[in-house]
Amino acid sequence: MKNLKTLNVLVVAAAAAALMLFAPMPGAGQDKQKGGKGGKGKGGPPGAEQYGPYYAAPVTAGQPVGKTPDGQPDMQGFWTPRFNQAIFEIQDHPKAQPGIGPGKGAIVDPADGRIPYKPEAAEKAKELLTKQIYLEPEAHCYVSGVPHAAYQQFGYQIVQPAGYVLFLTEYAHTYRAIPTDGRPHISPNVKLFRGDSVGKWDGGTLVVDTTNQNGKTWFDMAGNFTTPAIHVVERFTPVDTNNINYEAVVEDPSIYTQPWKIAGQLGRHPDQNMELMEFACVEGNQDLVHYTEGVGGKAKEKGALTK
């Protein structure tokens, strides 16, 4: 192991660098749109499409969906999300913002591709966008909420032991465990970053109901915030061994005038022998030094908030 010693610094630096790719730097949005390579440290395969800071597997037809030993439709393996540029902003965002290039979001209802905010909530989102450089939750290494976890950077691995569907994400080296045994949600008094998810199979579709989120996560980097009243119903429909259709309906009467819906696809990663690396977010994170608003924060001095 001794020969590896000098690599310590590299590992930590790699984690920090990966985060920097994701954490917005003033004027860096354009670069991210073209330059990202994904969490594996190698570029996408030929034909791969660029989505946000990671690549997505090219769309290729697969075989009919198989079954796990306990009879669930088999979605196991490594997946890359195709959700346009939703990871930057979930709404359509034709105009560039500091740190966020123009692009399409993932909202399919309402048809204008925008979140149906109530007026005061729209004001709040607009205000947060101006401060996203240091308020964006992932720059603080918070785990993503739902549905953000479904279009997480670097993609994820799905495993399906009996009675569960697990999503293992490279980002922040974390997991999401969804029981499919018909149990109810936990007490509404317990709020969690990732919320409480329960799943069931509706024919060939995994339906995941998520409540109990703590309102500290965002949908993206652009200030589109959540509250603890959020309720999300996701539908994962494997269409063949290489493709999963994804939909999520988001409701929160406290800030939206109507429920809204996002849609995207998951493509099977061409390398199914890959291994998730350790994205040690907290350990490599320099962002708090640079971006926090409080003591030690340098965002203002650096002019990061100038528009």
Binding site: V282, E283, V295
Partner: protein, 233 residues
Amino acid sequence: MAGQAYKAPRTPEGNPDLQGFWQVMNTAAVNLEDHIATLGMPAGLSVVVDPPDGKIPYTPAAREKQKENYKNRAKADPLNICYIPGVPRAMYLPFPMQIVQTPKYVLIASEFAHTLRMIYMNGTKHPDVALFWIGDSRGHWEGETLVVDVANHLPDTWFDRSGNFHSDALHVVERITRTEPDILTYEATLEDPQVFTRPWTIRMLLYRHKEPDFKLLEYECNAYLEDAEKESQ
């Protein structure tokens, strides 16, 4: 475990089934060695079963370093700044863990900071290019026992709150056996010639959580640390 009578039920692929929610009921997270109580920290007996005196066989210099770590533990314990705990520390924190098994992997998900351990069961070797906070785990079955070889450790993790530590030469071999329906016997042998004079072994029991609909909640350490820092300003 040699001479063991209990035989665990099997997974569909024929391996002992270790799945479920598990947690220790000891104070190894405070100190692996014998320790008296301190404020907020209960007393406990050593979980070191070899050497028989229950003491970690440090070199003299390393013992001095451990004592210094102990003195500075409030600031120096990597867990206090929410770093990934490493192995074996991840296994005896006072937080529940979920073990799940697929034909290729054994996964250990801890409630502490959403920490995920992936144990590869497909005969692959440790990568030679990287060190990890949680190490790199490759396992195989020896009868009833899951044997996990853990290497590629970053040197920055500790074993407990008392400053017990290692270098990047650490090599851990874990042996996990379902010795009763609701008990896993956990054993780990630790070698690190830079810090210890000989290999040593810890052993403890993990108990099954049997509450109905039990599930992992979350302990997002870094978020609470940030809150605490804000409050103290």
